[in-house]
């Protein structure tokens, strides 16, 4: 068995994990299941990043999405449901039309993709990306880098302000 076949099998495995768990997120009637579905989606996408030679991004995905965002969402699920509200259910509505709409969106996207000639500057050679990304962030992307810090500061001030309990 050659390596390309093996890598294909591994790719399809992760692709299946990603999509199946994303479907769980969407179709599960329990918020907890949805959150765990999201966990596997994030893992699957991180694995796809590795396939694409984006090692730093894969690590970032795990640290921030799984370690941060998902935990926050789980907190949201847990904190907002007290014991008397045990049936962590989310009613879905208009399922049939939305499934049709989803298929239509997917169909249009794939149809458009099939007839598109994407830009092609030649494939990038696989190599470690961390140092190069660091240089880019400090050079070409210095302004977005700084603006992102302001954005995080605003979010920090705002989130703290909103949840703080203080007699006013």
């Amino acid at each position: 068995m050659d390596t390309s076949l093996l890598s294909q099998i591994v790719f399809y495995f992760f692709a299946a994990v990603t999509l199946a768990s994303a479907a769980v997120v969407v179709f599960s009637r329990s918020l907890i299941y949805s959150a765990f579905g999201l966990l596997f989606t994030f893992f699957g996408v991180a694995a796809l990043y590795v396939f694409l030679g984006a090692d730093f991004l894969a690590a970032t995905q795990l640290v921030i999405y799984v370690g941060g965002i998902l935990i926050l969402l789980l907190f949201g699920v847990m904190l907002t449901h007290k014991l008397y509200d045990l049936n962590l259910k989310t009613e879905t509505f208009q399922v049939a039309p939305s499934v049709l709409l989803m298929l239509a969106v997917f169909g249009v996207l794939v149809l458009a993709m099939m007839q598109t000639a994407w830009y092609n500057a030649g494939p990038r050679q696989p190599e470690p990306t961390t140092a190069a990304i660091g240089t880019l962030l400090m050079k070409d992307f210095i302004l977005p880098f700084e603006v992102a810090s302001v954005l995080l500061l605003i979010a920090l001030i705002g989130a703290a302000m909103i949840v703080r309990r203080r007699a006013e």
Partner: protein, 497 residues
Amino acid sequence: MDPKLIADLYSFIPELTVTGTLLLVILADLSLARIRRTLTFVVAAAGLLAAFAFTIPLFGAEPRSLFYGMIALDPMAVFFKAFLLLASLLVLLAAPGSSELAKRQVGEFYALLAGVTLGMMLLAASTDLLMLFLALETVSVGSYIMVGYLKNDRASNEAALKYLLFGAVSSGAMLYGMTLLFGLTGTTKMSAIRDVLSGAAHPGGNALMLLVATVLVIAGFGFKTAAVPFHFWCPDVYTGAPTPVTAFLSVAPKAAGFATLVRFFFTGLAESHGVPPQWATLVSINWMPIVMVLSIITMTFANIAALRQENMKRLLAYSSIAHAGYMLMGASVLSGDGLQSVLVYLITYLFMNLGAFIIVIEIYNRTGSFELKDYRGFSRRSPFLSVAMSIFLLSLMGIPPLAGFFGKFYVFAAAVNRNLVFLAVIGALNSVVAVYYYARVMKAMVIDTGEETARVRVSWGNLALIWVMLVPTVCLMLFWNPVQRLTSSSWHLFLGN
């Protein structure tokens, strides 16, 4: 360090000042409780005023791009910097006069206002999709929090949640569209996107994908400018938010949204030729009809929906959607005239709309109500407020010689100049519909009689602010030359090398 970067920083002083203001306000908020309220206000006002002063020398600067092509320094960007700083400053001055905000700590409010202002200034100047997205999110995240500022108020919380969910979805869709553009062109720079797309061997080959990407990106802009059908959030959010925030949202982020919409379409998806430039859409994506249809349904829908509103904030929300429709019309005709008309419209809209909102704030302070029925007979309770409100409403209708007339005149003239008479006719018909709901408010205030008859005293702060809005609304035509000169020199865009 790159010497070019140092030079860029000198042209970046207004933004740096606003960032400094944000940090100083946070520091000032740590001071003694007794002086905190005043100190944070003074720091924020002084900072924004200083930033405005630093923007003025930039008028007439050589158009160029800054920070490795992330933002542009061109007449349009400088105009919007000044405009947005002025709008933020006016809203800041209106904040202490609002009884809604008086119950809350205001330090964070001023800090958030400064942060959102920074985001808007960058948004109006972004020439790179990444920068555009980040600036848009800075504006959005700040606005979500400002909308939910009355955290013990149910409506304010609901409004913030709705705004956030709609905002997150539409910016996600926009982002997906941007990634498709990146795939089509291999770049995120707007000018490079145009060069790749117009230089393509088979311009028609990627038409469907370009259409999908464009529609997705329009969803993001449509959300920010509250254009129909991306306006769902708008009436609820405007009603639930603290009124100064509503006033802010109806002017400043909307203006920044227009700036970035114009920049994206005119730089990235259109080709210019000649001096002064004439634009034509790219062969592969003719977006002009899309924006035109968006403009028509936006103003028509909003004007009809406004007819049956009983709450002043909702009525002004629909009115602001309708005005966004007129401005979209100016952008959709693809000419320098059209761009100039958008700028003229924004200047007039700033004063008349903020003026109307300040009166709504003042009336709420005195009556505790936003309902139209409580406006009945107000002319006997406060003749000044009633007359001032009538002037702002007449201006919003577009009655000459008030400021609002000139905005509409320029927009319709730009449409006629491009032989789009039907567009001007639709706009004019819409203005007729709009007369009805503005007149309803005037009728309630002046002709109807209310149960309450006690005289209302206007606080001096709001009185001064109302005059600040009233003078330009009434007298703009006397100063038409400077306005004409400012706007005709400010619509020029830096289109890349």
